[in-house]
Symmetry: C2
Subunit: 345 residues, 2 copies
């Protein structure tokens, strides 16, 4: 099938491509009659403009990039959903890049994005990302970036996050109120904003309740599944083992549940559990899991909305924006045998 271009239409209608182009973009300088003729033929021929030709000329791509660590995580899946919803409504296209938690990949993506391939970027940094020159580099190319969830203070731009500190505090307080005295915190990587803030909240709640805990109650889990499991097992084998656990990321939940079962520990009687998770199956776990649920979909929408504001108004100052959307504590049996609650944090 031969491709139809502006020229095809122009020749057939004895017009110039410029006129056809303007007609299709509904320019006021074209007569109603010509517009009509052009539109009719265009749709009859099934004309679809070549976006790259337009992009080359106009220097805008109508495309954004989403750079995230992974998709197989309820948070990111929901966030993409939110992003895609907004992008679709704006007629934008969405490129997906997965870093798989590797800075090297992140850097490669960012370097490529200097090419003009996209008009803006939504980013959630990899766990390895400490230096942020690659991000600043892209900003110097005037590509607006909005960082969501896993933010980074070094990067001067808009952020969309949730109240991680308060959530960590609320989760811990909740466990304390349910008679936990020895609460462990499973960290993902202390470098990551989200885990760090959640941990600060956890520590503050402990301090506010005069609970002093040994150092090994904060367990770092970020060096592979095997190691994570080993670390969790070690924690639960401590003579002075915890009676409460806070899992700072969703994927640790299964390990905690499995390990408890392996050691014959009952949840919540022996160990109460709260996870930062967006699992749709939380209510049907054994036992139902108390979760801190992030507003993933909303965060995706908010981040995309901010990005489009920056794209639409060039004098919009992204640096001034730091949105926070609250998480929700869903109390279920894993931390509490009695009431089912939904607490806005």
């Amino acid at each position: 099938m031969e491709n139809v271009s502006l020229k095809t239409i122009a020749t057939r209608l004895q017009l110039s491509t410029a006129t056809v182009s303007k007609a299709l973009r509904d320019s006021h300088e074209i007569s109603a009659e010509t517009k009509e003729r052009v539109r009719t033929l265009a749709s009859a021929l099934n004309y679809v403009p070549n976006p790259y030709a337009s992009s080359l000329r106009r220097k805008i791509s109508k495309t954004i990039a989403v750079v995230i660590p992974e998709v197989a995580d309820s948070f990111f899946a929901d966030a993409i959903n939110g992003i895609e919803t907004i992008a679709q409504s704006k007629g934008y296209h969405v490129l997906i890049y997965l870093t798989h938690e590797s800075v090297e990949k992140e850097k490669r993506f960012f370097s490529d994005l200097q090419s003009g391939r996209v008009d803006g970027v939504l980013l959630s940094i990899s766990v390895e990302t400490v230096a942020t020159e690659h991000i600043a580099d892209l900003q110097r190319h005037s590509i607006p970036i909005v960082i969501f969830d896993r933010v980074c203070d070094d990067i001067k731009t808009a952020t969309v996050s949730t109240n991680d500190y308060e959530a960590g505090y609320a989760a811990t307080k909740h466990l304390i109120e349910n008679n936990c005295k020895k609460i462990a915190y499973l960290s993902f990587s202390a470098r990551l904003s989200i885990t760090a803030k959640r941990m600060q909240g956890y520590k503050q709640a402990l301090a506010d309740n005069n609970l002093l805990l040994p150092d090994d109650f904060v367990v770092s889990c970020s060096s592979g599944e095997e190691n994570d499991i080993a670390a969790i097992e070690q924690l639960l084998l401590l003579e002075n083992r915890p009676d409460g656990i806070i899992a700072s990321v969703e994927k640790l939940t299964t390990h905690v549940y499995v390990t408890c079962q392996k050691f014959g520990l009952k949840i919540p009687q022996d160990v109460a559990v709260v996870s930062f998770a967006n699992l749709k199956t939380a209510p049907i776990l054994n036992p139902p899991l108390t979760t801190v649920t992030q507003p993933a979909f909303e965060m995706g929408k908010a981040a995309a909305t901010l990005l489009f504001k920056a794209l639409e108004k060039k004098n919009f100052n992204l640096n001034a924006e730091a949105l926070s959307i609250p998480s929700v504590l869903h109390v279920r049996d894993s931390s509490n045998k009695t009431a089912l609650q939904k607490i806005q944090i």
Copy 2:
């Protein structure tokens, strides 16, 4: 920051853009010395070629589109992972389009893709898709398409699926072997290849075991969460209620579990359950869920690999390809109190 182009490098080196272009593409007609000078300056200036200019000229975009119903589903999340892995290794970019089960959106996406925006498409059709003209249209523009998971016989192209019929059969047989006599099947949409084939397997297994069941043991669930829940409740309130349930898609699992609990029905004693699902939490559900697990990641990789074969060899015949990667039946407590098994179907 001003953008560096081929021209920038050419002027600085007193060369023509043609030479620079060839040097960067490592053409044999350029001297080693010139290549070296060009490469050095290019990397010093942080030159990144404009993909759209190249695309316009060469008529290839190094980009593929993934058109799927949703992301917030373990199968599609894992599949994207597989797709992205292959795409990254080929230096390709991935555009994501979510149909949210709407043909209208699917059609709009396919119409846009006629523009030359992508070199190929990976597709899993929406539940509403019956007519497939929009897909054939795109094929007429010589864009190779590989359909995965939710295939469609009307479309003449390569497919990657799993052995849905056998999986449906195996799941049913498994329940029968575990003493279920009245097995219900929760369909998603009978039009969809996957649910239809799973159902055929289910029916054949029933027939092979001389189990005759009333029509209302096949329940259609595809008209919204509310309705799905109502339908499942109705099923479990039947006087002659099922003692086994097969959920043909992941998202129905929660509804089944919740409804059973609501009615005080014990899984598996009162009702055994098997779900087609890729839930990472299957082992820690209450009770652990017996699943038919699709090889999502592998299917994504296989589909992408096929697409790239078609992209690389223009005489590669996609129509001849119909790959099937087997699912696995993970037997857990929801269908069986005793042994834990992993059965290759």
